[in-house]
Symmetry: D2
Subunit: 305 residues, 4 copies
Amino acid sequence: MSLIFNREILFKTILIKRSNKLTTFKMAKSSFEYVKMFELDDTLLPNSWIVVRLDGKCFHKFSEDHDFSKPNDIRALRLMNYAAFSVFKEFHDLLMAFGQSDEYSFIFKKHTTLYNRRASKLLTTINSKFSSSYVYYWSKFFGTYNLKYPPTFDGRIILYPSDENLIDYMKWRQADVHINNLYNTTFWNLVLKGNMSPTQAEKRLCGTVSANKNEILYNEFHINYNNEPDIYKRGTLLLRKIINNQDTNKTYTVIVDIHDDMLKEIFWKEHSTLLTVKPSKQNFIHIGPITDIIEEQLKLKEPSE
Amino acid sequence: MSLIFNREILFKTILIKRSNKLTTFKMAKSSFEYVKMFELDDTLLPNSWIVVRLDGKCFHKFSEDHDFSKPNDIRALRLMNYAAFSVFKEFHDLLMAFGQSDEYSFIFKKHTTLYNRRASKLLTTINSKFSSSYVYYWSKFFGTYNLKYPPTFDGRIILYPSDENLIDYMKWRQADVHINNLYNTTFWNLVLKGNMSPTQAEKRLCGTVSANKNEILYNEFHINYNNEPDIYKRGTLLLRKIINNQDTNKTYTVIVDIHDDMLKEIFWKEHSTLLTVKPSKQNFIHIGPITDIIEEQLKLKEPSE
Amino acid sequence: MSLIFNREILFKTILIKRSNKLTTFKMAKSSFEYVKMFELDDTLLPNSWIVVRLDGKCFHKFSEDHDFSKPNDIRALRLMNYAAFSVFKEFHDLLMAFGQSDEYSFIFKKHTTLYNRRASKLLTTINSKFSSSYVYYWSKFFGTYNLKYPPTFDGRIILYPSDENLIDYMKWRQADVHINNLYNTTFWNLVLKGNMSPTQAEKRLCGTVSANKNEILYNEFHINYNNEPDIYKRGTLLLRKIINNQDTNKTYTVIVDIHDDMLKEIFWKEHSTLLTVKPSKQNFIHIGPITDIIEEQLKLKEPSE
Amino acid sequence: MSLIFNREILFKTILIKRSNKLTTFKMAKSSFEYVKMFELDDTLLPNSWIVVRLDGKCFHKFSEDHDFSKPNDIRALRLMNYAAFSVFKEFHDLLMAFGQSDEYSFIFKKHTTLYNRRASKLLTTINSKFSSSYVYYWSKFFGTYNLKYPPTFDGRIILYPSDENLIDYMKWRQADVHINNLYNTTFWNLVLKGNMSPTQAEKRLCGTVSANKNEILYNEFHINYNNEPDIYKRGTLLLRKIINNQDTNKTYTVIVDIHDDMLKEIFWKEHSTLLTVKPSKQNFIHIGPITDIIEEQLKLKEPSE
């Protein structure tokens, strides 16, 4: 109500002020300030899941310019995870993040009021922190290999009203990893080890189903696709977990990077509290092998928030 | 029309597919793909100016953490300009960019159809490229002085229907530079040279107008504010200009960084073609002293686009 | 994709065509058709409840101009219900409608794809049909008493992601009826029977709670508020129900107007299928006294959809 | 700012209140009031033309159900104009309205702050008043011929940033009248006087241009299309004009309905002040033959606003 009132007053004030000669910068500024009114409200619907998905722009070229290994470059994937971790650490209202290839999805707590749920604010702060982190931590994973130019990630916001929709979103992105990775693994084996040209490999794979690709890998390259690393087959999920340091008998909230199968219902049963309960109330869950991300946090030995 | 049709089909297909047992990942993926429908269209109104403004998040702390000189750190300003230049170079539909302190505004050509004017795409690609460039080019301006952590910039999009609105926006941001810089210059002289505490300096300046601050600077610190560098007093405007290399007799489109007074009507008269004509049709305009940005482009000696 | 393509083509075509002299109206029309591009998409988020609420504009004056009885005019309420019924009958995707005083809320099935969930279409068709029906059916309830001028209703759309939110919305509107009706009943008894001026009545009620008002009504006017008609105390809910005509042994889907207490959990338990199942699958539910609305439908004796 | 604060407070308050047992309706209401937060802001961009266009829903059927004359029913067109006049009279911020067939466009003053430029409010009040007026004034034009059911109009809002865009919109709608009316006039003459079936008439007209249709009308039915009434060929434009009553020597602002050719540039030159100056500053303009609309206003003899 008061906002509305001020707006009208402001507008009238402007019209009056404009006709006077400006005497100071302050007056000058105030006579242009009406342009602030053109910023429109972009508050997101309450009680719905907010997903921010980032995608690398022209990353096909970027990966060639930086000699990424094919079909997967573990350094590049770990850098993506680390940039996401850098975002996750800063925004406590993030519940999950899921990444693969050159994309990362960030999921906020359903009831987050961060930036009053303003779409632009949520979208750009995640996007910016991820982008700057990607460059900042490049050498941590690529050592002295130079980053040739600053990369660009685009971003979008999607709302999901129900838990089922959100879970289906997570499954959709993970099913995408499966399909792409099986294709890419077969394709690049045909090219790199099978001495096919990319065009020949593409033709060979045209019309094949999963079973066919598995067979090609097994029969021709002695690769059991099931034994491929989970990070390649399933992407990476970031979550917050509480762990107990037995030396100090203190609990810590750490961010963990896991590669579980989210397409199986058991995953969502085991993580049933994830969508409903605050992370700090979760019980201890075995977190598997120590990764860079966890190790770094354990070193800090900071008490749980 | 066809889009709408597909949507409904898709929705019905989903409902059917869900009830079947999934046999392959491809089927799995397609049964979750309905979640794409939740992405809503955010196309911006045609025939209106699109402004993307970025602001540093918590840059007060960031500037302290990195020992920025007060009231202005020329390295930090030049880095901001360079990051903006990096964005400007990549997005040919950008017409102008104006920066000061920790903020930068990017103005697209009125009729741009880049990304079909989708708000998220325009906002995030500018935001991301700027953020990654800030880190990438840090050492170019700060040398061996370490960047302690990746910075974050938020961003917003504002539409302006008329040229007058856009010009007033530019004036508004530049009037802001004037006010802030005069205040900060006086404040920091009182603190750094006048041995006042920040609280004392704040009190001293409370209620003063421009004339008072000019007097303080002149009488107490022998500083003629008019002689302060234009980059501090007026911020930086990036534009495209055509220059003629007399050695080769070729023309080049270069991005120039100028510090002109946009509050004066003469600026807009002299740049009257800016808002109406494509940059490539502009006449040659003397571009003043060679800066990092121009020098770098001239080295490239690439023919004008 | 094709849409986007056409758009750009269209835009370019326009620019070319404009410069030619128009020779026929068809050409003339096509050269202006670009203005269609300014219509932006307003599709509503899928999988969320769509509520359209209409409110009478200046109905305080309207009710005075038409000598509505105070505190409630049964003719006016029945006309509101009948206009809502007219809307409800036409839009099969409406699940519920709730009305009181000069407002009516319409709730669409969660998964409706009517008008592809375009906000303006949904909002205006409901709003228009209601408004025209209000005038059309006026004499059905007011007889020869003249409608003095056409009334105006404004409308808005609100989305609710969860069933709980929607139920709370319904409760909120019904709690509003309770509060207003108790106040109005007491106020108008003080004025009409207690010979108080409106100002005196207002003062008397200032700061009173429900219990106080109940006491005033009972002690001073021998009115047991609990015995007031439910339509006054609780407003009107429209639903679709299936009834069995025992003469013909056929089932009919009829729209019923009920006045149940939606604030009690038992209501939502008894109507648990309402939010989840299609109306046509509901079991028979006793529908209480025959109202105009039901009677009219029974006369039609049309088989259930 | 205070709004934001209240929101968070409200949300927290709700969570607390919910767990308590509700004791009064007021408390009940306040615990559900959080659902108000789901109403999102839909303020329209300032400094742009707001066009509200209404279209009859299923008016092909409606016109058949009410035996409208073909190709044009003058009663129906005059009723449309009168309903639009009823809207125009109520909303002083309306600058123009243009109607044809079963559609009407309403154009607000560029700087209107009516309802703080909230899209839903502007859209629905126009839509509702028009719809209720259509029914209310039916008998004024159709006499004792009964309206069989309440009609429905849908509505949409379109923004135009520049005067040129708005003028092109007006031209687009009028070019549409030309094309449709020439086609319909020829089609119905072929059917009604030429004894063709609708299918035959359609075939005959397939592929014809304006000139062909003019020839058919002239050669076969002795109709000079140029002599057809302007209201059929050009639709109706509502404007406010000031007229001088010579008897009383007073000026009046009246709403006039004109049928000028908006496709000609001279129209916009003669009305150059229309888009820039308030109607009350317009000079007297001869308003042509007295229509129902003007006559009615003159009878009122109210002084100009």
